[in-house]
Symmetry: C2
C-alpha cells in the first residue's frame, strides 16, 4: 500500500503540492468541474495514487476548499502598521484580488455552501468568521494605536456580518459585469462602507 | 377532466385560494417540507385535484414561490407620501416583518436560489430586481418631491445590490439570533445604511 513518490518529497509534502495544484485548477473552474481525473492528468500521476492521498472525490474537494480558504485568510491579512483605514483598504484590496483571481472556484464555493452542502458551508462559515473576527480581536484591523473604529458590540457584530455579505455581493457582481465601475471605486466603496455603516445615525421614525 | 369545485369559486379563484394556503404553509416550513400531500390534507381535498390544478410538485412549488414573491413585493410598497427616509424606513419595516413572518420559507428560497435551482433563482432575482428598481424608477422610493437621495449611476446600482445582500443577511441572521439587538436598531441600521453607503467618501489611499 505504499505509493510511489516523485522527487524526494515526503508524502505530506506531495499531498500539499497536489492540493496547491487543485487550488490552481479550481480558480477557473467550479467544484463540479474539478475531478480526480483532471488532477491526475495535470499532475501526471495515476488516479489510484490520488485516491491514496485523498480517499475519494468528496474528501479531495473538501481538502482543496480548505486549502483555498486558508490561502484567502493568509493573503488578506492586514499589514502590521499604518492607520486603521489604510490597513482595512489593504486587506479589502487583497480580498478583491483573491476573488477575481479565483473567480469560478469562489463562486462555486458560495453556491455549494448556500445550497446545502454541509462540508462546504462549514468551511465557508469558518473562513467568513476568521475574516470578520479580525475586526474585533485585540490585534485587530481597526483597533490599532490610531484608535478603534469598530467597538465590539452585538450591534456591530451584526453590522460586520452584513458588511461581509455586501462585500461578497459587490465583488462577485462586479467581477461578472464591471458596468463601467472601476476597481478603485469598488475598493473605496468596500473599505469606506464599514466605518460609514458603524457610524449610521438612527433616522427619525417615519 | 373537469374537477369538482367547492363553494362557487371559479377554477382560477380556487387555484388562487390554494396558492394562498401554500404560501401560509411555507411560512413555517422549508420548500422540501411543503408537499402536495400536506396541501391536500390542509385544504381537505384530494391529491388528484391538486395535481389537476398544479400539474406536479415542481410546478406547485414554483407557483407558491411566485405568489410569495408577489406578496413580498406588494407588502413592501413604500407609502405614497412623506419624506424619502421615512418612506424607505416604512418599506424596510415591511420587508423585515415579512421575512420574520415567513422565516422558514424565505430562508429555504434563498438556499434553493443560491444552490442552483434555476426556477427558484429566477423568481428570487426577479423579486430582488423589483425591490431594487424602486430605488431608481421615476415613482421611486428615494426620488420624491423632497429630492433624490440615490442617483441612477452604475456605481449606485452596484451599491444598491450590495445593500440588498446586506439587508437580507442582517434580517436572516438577526431572525435566527437577535443577540440583544432590538428590532428598531435593525430597522434603523438597514434604512440608515443606504444613504450612508451612497455618501461614502473615497478614503485616502493606504
Amino acid at each position: 500500500m505504499t505509493a510511489p513518490t516523485r522527487a524526494r518529497l515526503s508524502p505530506d509534502e506531495r499531498r500539499s503540492q497536489l492540493l496547491d495544484l487543485g487550488v490552481r485548477l479550481l480558480a477557473t473552474r467550479s467544484l463540479d468541474e474539478l475531478s480526480i481525473d483532471l488532477l491526475a492528468e495535470e499532475a501526471g500521476i495515476s488516479r489510484g495514487l490520488l485516491y491514496h492521498y485523498f480517499g475519494n472525490k468528496h474528501a479531495f474537494h473538501e481538502a482543496v476548499v480548505r486549502r483555498a480558504a486558508d490561502d484567502l485568510i493568509a493573503q488578506t491579512a492586514p499589514p502590521a502598521g499604518g492607520d486603521a483605514l489604510g490597513r482595512l483598504l489593504a486587506s479589502v484590496t487583497a480580498y478583491v484580488d483573491y476573488v477575481l483571481a479565483n473567480y469560478e472556484g469562489y463562486v462555486s464555493l458560495i453556491k455549494g455552501a448556500a445550497g446545502g452542502n454541509e462540508t462546504l458551508r462549514q468551511i465557508y462559515d469558518e473562513a467568513r468568521s476568521a475574516l470578520s473576527e479580525r475586526i474585533f480581536t485585540e490585534q485587530n484591523l481597526l483597533g490599532n494605536a490610531q484608535g478603534e473604529l469598530v467597538e465590539d458590540t452585538p450591534r456591530n457584530r451584526l453590522l460586520v456580518r452584513g458588511w461581509s455579505a455586501m462585500t461578497e455581493e459587490l465583488v462577485v457582481a462586479w467581477g461578472r459585469d464591471p458596468a463601467g465601475v472601476s476597481r478603485q471605486e469598488v475598493l473605496d466603496i468596500i473599505a469606506g462602507s464599514l466605518p460609514a455603516l458603524v457610524g449610521v445615525a438612527s433616522p427619525a421614525p417615519a
